[in-house]
Symmetry: C2
Subunit: 316 residues, 2 copies
Amino acid sequence: MFAKLRKTGYKMINKLIEEIKKKKAPVVVGLDPMLSYVPEFIKENAFKEFDETLEGAAEAIWQFNKGIVDAVYDIIPAVKPQIAMYEQFGIPGLMVFKRTIDYCKQKGLVVIGDVKRGDIGSTSAAYAAAHIGEVTVGNKKYCAFDEDFITVNPYFGSDGIKPFTDACKENNKGIFILVKTSNPSSGEFQDRLIDEKPLYEHVAKKVIEWGEDCMGDTYSNVGCVIGATYPEMGKVLRKLMPKTYILVPGYGAQGGKAKDLSLYFNDDGLGAIINSSRGIIAAYKQEEYAKFKEEGFADAAREATLAMIEDINSVL
Amino acid sequence: MFAKLRKTGYKMINKLIEEIKKKKAPVVVGLDPMLSYVPEFIKENAFKEFDETLEGAAEAIWQFNKGIVDAVYDIIPAVKPQIAMYEQFGIPGLMVFKRTIDYCKQKGLVVIGDVKRGDIGSTSAAYAAAHIGEVTVGNKKYCAFDEDFITVNPYFGSDGIKPFTDACKENNKGIFILVKTSNPSSGEFQDRLIDEKPLYEHVAKKVIEWGEDCMGDTYSNVGCVIGATYPEMGKVLRKLMPKTYILVPGYGAQGGKAKDLSLYFNDDGLGAIINSSRGIIAAYKQEEYAKFKEEGFADAAREATLAMIEDINSVL
């Protein structure tokens, strides 16, 4: 399906918005599987087959991911696998990262690869090829990981970003560029004032500029990342960048609250997609969902997702 | 060898300095193998065995890397594989990234993984585990990629850096944090003035702070990256951060010149290590080394490395 859409000039941001509207859920589930989130019975089975190896860990994560995806794919538009959680298990982990991407796309989900890559131009071109572009081998072309969107780090400036925006245009993909991150110390550099404006606003202005050439119907294929933990900044940035989709991490486990999240949306009810990782995939560990027990981890994830969607829609 | 050193509290920056002194070469060869750098006869052989696939590309890159490493390992202290160039070939590419790390360590080289990772704390912890730390699987521990140093992006601030410095301390590893990058547009954000000082100086001050707790004998295990293309800035930063080792990309193909590079060194003749990638590994494509032809790509790389070492030592 995606291959066909690609040829007809389909824009990935349109696809994301369409799925958000269809599911009535501006929500993305973060597939960030720490091994400590995986139920014991899954780990036991995986270690029985592969011993306590990287392969065993990867198999456990795959079974866990598959359970979660099967339980929630019909109620959410998108998933966001965090590559670091796979990279730590080396090659077997990265094979499961790829397997997860493919499985989620099969299920009709938009896949946001949370990779936060960024480098000088020639190197960014290789990262873009790896994730949202193509690499040429002789007369053949391949996209190694083939996510729909990826996250990108802006520290290198325009020439480090251009290969990613080029890939967006050539392959109808999208990116989300870090503007204001959700972590406690994000202000150390990002909040510092330059000409009386914080650095993140200067980055935001560049994101708008980079995105102008990559427009979908109403929003750009070049989005940004703004943490749910900084709603006052989200409010200012929302007004500054009306055509930029905002990927919002930090809801739930990191402390972001629904009542603040309305500030990240435009009047059309669009413009933001809220991520939750731990709060969904490890829901069965919370008191609220304890009744599901380990065996019901996937059902607990579905319940937590439904609760999150209701929570967010209640403030829109 | 490294495992034993680790247990005796050996510091990675000491090891790097020792190798630089032994080889009289403050030089690192960047193993950034674009497929276009690989001689045709190597590609033909690889494609004959694996067809024009990601596996074929990865095999070609491996044969190319091995040729280069065999030709230069005795005259250089370190190599810097750029992971993006492997990541673009997916799982087979990343397997060759790992194989290259292992082979270079076998040859006694210090390996700087140019990965430029960085994220919120919990995610940085996973990246640190992947590259310079350990991940726990049941009762076993693994380091998936196991470089000696990696490069790190500072945009998230202290809590995004801490897992990397923790890993340095726990495993006697090192990192190089981006301060002023070599690319033309690096100034867009990095040069902007905050309290009358450019952003990169504020980052530099934090690098000093983060590094104080990770000292080797004379230099910190927390180094920084400053491009050869900005010598005036290198000069200021060198004075600002006397105990910080500087990894200097941008020499040669990117335009950095030896006469400027003396500014990156301290009076002890130490404090900087200069990287060249294309200028070494694709030397056979330059007019100066054309006599080696494709078949002599490795010998051309050795000649170019010797010339680079002489060039840099001439200004120290």
